[in-house]
Symmetry: C2
Subunit: 62 residues, 2 copies
């Protein structure tokens, strides 16, 4: 499987926000993340960086 | 391997921009994409969407 873990960058630190993320799509309140089980989380943030071989998505608060 | 193909969205269509992308990081001119072989491309765009199980990154021109 080719999912990644999403981290939220805050004050220079990265906190795990959602594991095994499949989709990230724009949402009226920021971004909607969906994991491989279909669980969804919304966050007021943007995608800052990707490191897919390391299974990593870094989000930054808007 | 857990890379994805990056597509650039233009006028509602998606054009393949770079295959087998590992890293996407901010760059002074937009984004720097690096594939799993270390080849790099720079584009004035932002990350719009991800669909990782489909190995897909969608970029949008800024």
């Amino acid at each position: 499987m080719c999912e990644a873990n999403a981290y939220l960058r805050k004050d220079g630190r990265e906190e795990l926000f959602l594991e095994m993320v499949d989709k990230v799509v724009p949402h009226e309140e920021g971004l909607m993340l969906e994991d491989i089980f279909g669980r969804r989380k919304i966050v007021k943030a943007r995608i800052a960086e990707l490191a897919l071989v390391d299974h990593k998505i870094v989000l930054e608060k808007e």
